[in-house]
Symmetry: C2
Subunit: 707 residues, 2 copies
């Protein structure tokens, strides 16, 4: 089904005129009863058609024996019958002209092969009739803006601005229950189930279009389609924040990898890269997800990372300062006007610098003075107000004052940390009702604010940037790959990998395969001395470990000796290795050792690695990852995530490296592996980086193609 049709389908899902509940039941405790009850209790204003072969009446609604019996049109059918009956019933739905299905029934893909087959058929029927499908194996859907609850949840969440979709139905039940206590409101509450057709990306797109949804939260264990997810998120993030909890370290990561890149990329690496590249913020825990939502729900986004702290005690002020520093927020310098103002209005012992310490005797009015001054200050992007319950502290009065002040400066985030228990219960209600997020300890408040700031940074860095395309000789590269494949190989020889790299404009050390010592000498003459000799074998990954590498050979005699020794060494260390010969390579000037590589992720495709190269790559692990294709900004961020990037800038009197050339190489690798999907893994290691203006050179290129 086309993306547009899916979106139209979701519009119907969100706003049906009529709903049939297939498997509706009059019996309490049955899921089909829960769904009916929720539909009615949530105040759904459309038509409700319970379907049950027994007929009769359920909760005041006439029961139809089958969907075909319903006189009017049916927009949405909720299916809560045993799995074995689902397929024929869905066929009937199609014939009836139902537009969207919510299949709550479990027993599909999640129970094994047979279930997976049934699920495939289910999707086929839906596609045939142009129906969208949520589920199967899900809790249902709740649209609080309508309002309407087509799920078997116990209870309906409060109305709010958070759109939430979850791959775990059980987690949703917990979150729903918890949200009622914490007074967290939702716009949409969607259980994704098995995601047989509609997936998280479809719903994110719909949430993005939904004026009632301000903030998108996801719990996912995997994404159905990596590219689609990224595309959709890149479109939505500029409009509203997307925060994700992604769980599940899949065992796919345990596969044997023959490249550095493959072995360093964990199963979660591609997700991390994807989230970064499409502006999605990953939260560490469900609690964090809702802390952030709680702050965002009430507030505007911070315009920057400059925080002012107002407190009535030193200790919590220091804790908050520490937390700000640890989370990338700046405890900013207040403007001279603010400092003068505070000096005039606070007791002399108070600290008028940031954190503003109004002392243990601070009254509600003192809090007003400080908080207002901080909110007014143009050096301040957000204000955190700390309160400890000391002898003279006016706790509820201070809460009230903050609510009043917030109304005057509604555009600057104002967070309250009221440290305490029983004496804070009422003041917290005052703050919450006044749309001020309130926490019991400073760290969580700071963290939530920092995550929102991080969103603004990510959002602003999402530019509509072109993917650079270099002129390349794709045909030449493909010829090499076809030849290798014809020979029944998957691992390319050095000379072959270098040729492909060269075809994509990557500067490489020239290399030729020699099968005899004489050939080696002839090639050396042609390339010019000194040369490097390397064993050419698909079975040997780490050449130097087996004595398969000789450098700095200056004469034909040295080449001849080296050729012989390499073969002897390899025969001793790896007697079973298939040997194609010895690669003869020009000896290029030593540069800084870097690595650029690629492996392929099942969900997201080509994953590019950059970092410190050489033989210790796997031990030092100074590498970072991004998904291809990449923009130039992506490459810039990729490089800056490594430690070696500081050295590339030129330190200790060394000239800065040729970053432009390095960026180009990474972009060309990105283009190569995007163009040619046959390449499943590649490493350029080392890639020599030279000083500015002198470029880079790929010294050793390894490549594996798909079988």
């Amino acid at each position: 089904m086309k993306a547009m049709d899916r979106q139209q389908g979701i519009d119907v899902l969100f706003n049906p005129r009529s709903i049939a509940v297939i498997g509706a039941s009059a019996k309490r405790g049955k899921l089909g009863n829960n769904v009916m009850r929720n539909l009615i209790d949530s105040g759904f204003d459309g038509k409700i058609y319970p379907i049950n072969p027994k007929g009769g009446e359920i909760l005041g609604h006439t029961v139809y024996r089958k969907i075909g019996d319903i006189p009017g049109e049916v927009d949405v059918a909720v299916v809560v019958i045993p799995a074995k009956f689902v397929l024929p019933v869905v066929e009937e739905c199609g014939q009836k002209g139902v537009k969207a299905l919510i299949v709550i029934t479990a027993g599909f893909k999640e129970v094994g092969h047979k279930g997976a087959e049934a699920e495939k058929k289910l999707v086929e029927i839906c596609e045939k009739y142009g129906m969208v499908l949520q589920g199967p194996n899900c809790l249902g859907l709740i649209n609080l803006s309508r309002p309407y609850n087509a799920s078997f949840s116990s209870g309906t969440p409060e109305k709010g601005t958070i759109a939430f979709a979850s791959q775990s139905g059980a987690l949703m039940t917990g979150i729903l229950d918890w949200s009622l206590m914490e007074k967290i409101g939702f716009s949409k509450f969607v259980s994704l189930g098995n995601k047989a057709q509609l997936d998280e990306a479809d719903f994110v797109e719909a949430f993005g279009r939904d004026p009632d949804s301000q903030f998108i939260l996801l719990y996912i264990e995997s994404v159905a389609d990596g590219k689609k997810f990224m595309e959709v998120c890149r479109k939505v993030v500029p409009k509203k924040p997307i925060f994700v909890v992604k769980s599940g370290v899949s065992q796919a990561g345990a596969r044997a990898a023959s490249s550095h890149t493959g072995s360093l990329a964990g199963s979660d690496t591609a997700y991390e890269a994807a989230f970064k590249q499409c502006g999605v913020i990953r939260a560490d825990s469900i609690a964090e997800l809702f802390d952030v939502a709680n702050v965002y729900d009430d507030m505007h986004l911070p315009a920057g990372n400059r925080v002012a702290i107002v407190t009535n005690a030193g200790g919590p002020g220091i804790l908050t300062t520490d937390a700000c520093e640890a989370n990338g927020l700046e405890v900013t310098q207040l403007s001279p006007e603010t400092i003068d103002f505070l000096k005039k209005h606070l007791p002399p012992a108070a600290s008028v610098y940031n954190p503003i310490d109004a002392l243990g005797t601070a009254s509600a009015e003192d809090y007003r003075i400080c908080t207002e001054a901080a909110l007014r200050d143009e050096n301040v992007d957000a204000v955190i107000v700390l309160l400890t319950p000391q002898a003279m502290t006016q706790i509820p009065e201070t809460a009230q004052v903050l609510v009043e002040v917030h109304k005057e400066y509604p555009h600057k985030p104002l967070l309250a940390v009221f440290m305490g228990g029983n004496s804070m219960v009422y003041p917290r209600i005052v703050l919450t009702d006044g749309n001020i997020p309130v926490f019991d300890f400073p760290e969580r408040a700071v963290h939530a604010l920092a995550e929102l700031y991080k969103y603004t940074v990510r959002r602003d860095s999402l530019k509509d940037e072109e993917i650079p395309r270099f002129p390349v000789d794709r045909e030449r590269a493909m010829k090499v790959i076809e030849r290798v494949r014809e020979e029944g190989r998957r691992v390319l020889l050095g000379s072959e990998a270098h040729e492909i790299a060269e075809a994509y404009g990557i500067p490489v050390a020239r290399i030729r395969l020699a099968r005899t010592a004489d050939e080696a000498k002839a090639i050396a003459e042609e390339l010019g001395y000194p040369v490097v000799l390397k064993i050419a074998s698909p079975d040997i990954i780490h050449k130097s470990d087996v004595g398969g590498l000789k450098v700095g050979l200056k004469t034909p005699e040295e080449v001849e000796t080296a050729f012989r020794e390499i073969l002897e060494n390899v025969k001793e260390h790896k007697p079973k290795a298939i040997i194609y010969g010895v690669d003869v390579q020009e000896m290029v000037e030593q540069g800084r050792e870097l690595i650029v590589g690629c492996s392929r992720d099942v969900q997201f495709g080509p994953l590019i690695m950059f970092g410190a190269g050489g033989i210790f790559v796997n031990y030092l692990k100074d590498v970072a990852f991004r998904l291809a294709p990449m923009t130039r900004s992506d490459v810039g961020e990729l490089i800056s995530e490594t430690k070696i990037s500081t050295l590339l800038k030129g330190v200790r009197g060394q000239a800065p490296s040729d970053t432009k050339a390095l960026e180009d190489i990474i972009l060309k690798v990105s283009q190569l592996v995007t163009d040619i999907e046959d390449i499943v893994e590649m490493d350029i290691n080392p890639l020599f980086g030279y000083e500015r203006g002198k470029g880079v050179c790929a010294v050793d290129v390894k490549m594996t193609i798909s079988g």
Copy 2:
């Protein structure tokens, strides 16, 4: 005052027979009234003597005009009068024979120079009469085991097993209030104030001896005496856990450092090292501190890191598994017996592996079966039970079952995560009353358990190990230092630093200072070619940056040329540098580049750094720190904290490094800077590490002494 006397004094503070409240007041709202009220309300069973010049009666107790008027003995005096009256009153207390003082009054060190002087006098008076002093500028003290509340807190916390001391009184008020709501109990509740005499170490020692205290929590902004703090903690940690929140990034860290070690050691580095070396666990936040206390309070410590998870839903099970992996806990393999047992007793669709998924239909009895089986399993050290509120979930019944099961297996930690809100309120009370810690989301539960496990590891690694002492020539080292000091210098020449290192048995490249080219040639002849020439100037730290370094000089002619060029280069780049000549050094075989260094911390003394050496130390920052003096285990841990330690083990076919020799060098540096306090900073960079059996060699030693 002696440590023993202080402890006797604290015993009196904790268990006085009589208390005088100096500054007692009949007027509500006055601190002196709060203290009286708290004393009486807390049920203090000793004598209470209010002191106030006005006389009369307060809350049923006869008021004395001055402490001398009290007929009986007074163990403890609580002082709540304005600062200016404190000193004469404390003198009177001494004369009366008071044994311990709690000075609540503020206006001492914290208000500046004059206050600091008064505080000094206050301590002098206390020492003269042998009185211990808590405060000044504190909230007071609460001993729940007595019970007795000698503070101006509003409310008294519940009785429990947590001993808590805090450097921030305001934070304490918040925590007290919060603890009443969260039902967290304390044994002792101590406000440290300015720590003029009694400090956190004194109280930790007392908590260590206190049978009512099982768990020690501290909030500190600094420690008063680093060495004492470490000594005391090393004694107490084997008996009970100490968890600390240390806040406050002091500005002392911003001082200019002339060594790599000095510039890489942040202001918090010594604290981090100290906590590690004395087995104290640092928490990131106050909330975390109490999560851990909450779990520990009810439970035994985990015997290992192997966790079993019981759940009625897949999603939360995955979240918990992820959290375990991230926190160093192992989601363990269950024993075959457990798996068989579960297969027999659970529905076929259930997962009988870890996480044990009893399905959404799990009854309370299913939870009993799974939880019992997990607790019984010898492969399991702790069990986390997850519950989501699904249609058929028996929430309070399951809580009850867990309480029963816990009673059967009280020695294995059992944590509950009941995800939800309103429907979890009552079940949570059941769990809490049954001594099972309960959380609303899995991540915090896992983190708390992991921290307790970390404590057991730290505790067990605290061995009664000797500090190794090598035979050294201290006198020779001191002679060099005295000579340098006589010349009015602080930065040692290379030859001088090398001599001191040599005196301490550190293998160094031989080096001599040459003042002329002829001297250089003569030294080169003596050392043997090839040699290295390096500029000898206290003003030049990075020699290679200014052309002050020439290596591999093989002939007298090369030495002569190099000598001239070095002087020319330095004159060009650093015209104002003072030049002592040129150091001539033997050229040693290239080894792996390491760094060992030392800087001095104000609180904790010599701080040793080890890591990857060379000219990029400051950029790669692959270093770790420990405080001197060190045991061999300390050194082992120090090395293993760096990334380069993996390379030292020998990888990619390389021989392993000489770790024993490396450890010896670090221990000798540790001995050197412990013996000779004059050395304020030193770097050995590079230290060449060779393969096993071939030792190490200090190539370049830099040293600065105190002025």
